[in-house]
């Protein structure tokens, strides 16, 4: 089997994820043996001591494997990725959530899929066989499904999970796509994959399971539906 000479930069934006970041890092190291990678934690000035925990993790795993690239306050997800990208030394970039809803055990399957197909982007999907969610009530499933059908009908995006944010990008592709995106929050995730699709980048999907966060508070609020519809309209017209 050919040795994988790629290096993977895993960018994890955090805000008050003191416990989750430690658990996440442990699981990443557990599942990515024989892979050259680094974890870049972009913390937005968490008041709960997230950065202290990251420094402890650096003592355990090495400062060359865990990079802390903090920012003074909450500055948004999109800019967190851009910030992380600046410090990424890998030729591939993984973006994932810190709250363990994205399980690092899927990282090898992302990498394998990319090596097999030569894809520029591998995106995790919760909506196909082999994937799934846990901890969602009926209402959440309904809005998710409704949102997905609407987006598929209007945008023809070519992927089954538009709002997912567990993705592997070729670094040059991420840099190209992210420079054209202006949305905030999860509409940003949608914009990224739709723009990539429009630019005809080779996108593959792998099934992932998504267990709703165990610790900490979710950043998902109430006005999301309005934001989502506005986001869809924006994407409809500008992509």
């Amino acid at each position: 089997m050919e040795i994988n000479k790629n290096k993977y930069s895993i960018i994890v934006p955090t805000y008050n994820e003191r416990l989750n970041i430690a658990l996440l890092v442990y699981l990443v190291f557990k599942h990515l043996r024989d892979v050259d990678f680094e974890v870049i934690v972009v913390d937005d000035g968490s008041p709960d001591g997230t950065q202290e925990v990251v420094k402890q993790l650096q003592q355990v795993y090495g400062e060359d494997r865990i990079l802390l690239r903090a920012r003074p306050r909450k500055l948004g997800l999109g800019t967190a990725y851009v910030h992380g990208l600046k410090h990424a030394s890998g030729n591939f970039v993984v973006i994932m959530d810190a709250d363990l809803s994205h399980h690092p055990k899927y990282l090898p399957s992302f990498i394998r899929k990319q090596l097999e197909t030569g894809a520029s982007i591998v995106t995790g999907t919760r909506y196909v066989k082999g994937g799934g969610v846990h901890g969602w009530n009926l209402m959440r499933k309904l809005t998710s499904r409704g949102a997905n059908v609407l987006a598929q009908t209007l945008l023809w995006p070519g992927v089954s999970d538009l709002t997912g944010s567990f993705r592997l990008y070729r670094k040059s592709v991420l840099e190209d796509v992210i420079s054209t995106c202006v949305s905030k929050g999860y509409v940003f995730q949608m914009e990224m994959i739709v723009r990539a699709s429009r630019k005809r980048y080779h996108i593959e999907e792998v099934p992932i399971t998504f267990v709703d966060r165990v610790y900490g508070s979710s950043k998902l609020g109430g006005s999301e539906i309005v934001e989502y519809l506005k986001g869809l309209a924006y994407l409809l017209v500008t992509t």
């Binding site: 001591g49 355990v60 363990l100 799934g132 309904l142 059908v149 267990v211 165990v214 409809l236």
Partner: protein, 88 residues
């Protein structure tokens, strides 16, 4: 080409087809109602897709259990190495 342009082009093509139908054999009253039928069908199809998707929404309760095991394992390992994992 922007996606919206593609959609509008499709809409124009369908409308042209419909206008063409108006002029031909199909009784006027039916032809005029075609757009309504179309929109309603589209709506029903959409609802059907949502319903079917909801029924077959893949779930993974076993993953929650596995995650708890992973968390326990992680806490054990990290505690021994001086990482603060007692926060809850």
């Amino acid at each position: 080409m922007k996606h919206i342009v593609k959609l509008l082009a499709l809409l124009v093509a369908v409308s042209a087809f419909w206008i063409g139908l108006l002029e031909t054999v199909i009784p006027r009253s039916y032809a005029w109602l075609l757009p309504v039928y179309f929109v309603v069908s589209l709506g029903c199809y959409g609802l059907l897709m949502v319903g079917v998707g909801l029924m077959h929404f893949p779930t993974c309760p076993q993953e929650a259990v596995l995650l708890q095991q992973d968390i326990a394992e992680a806490k054990e390992f990290l505690k021994q190495r001086g990482v603060d994992v007692d926060y809850d």
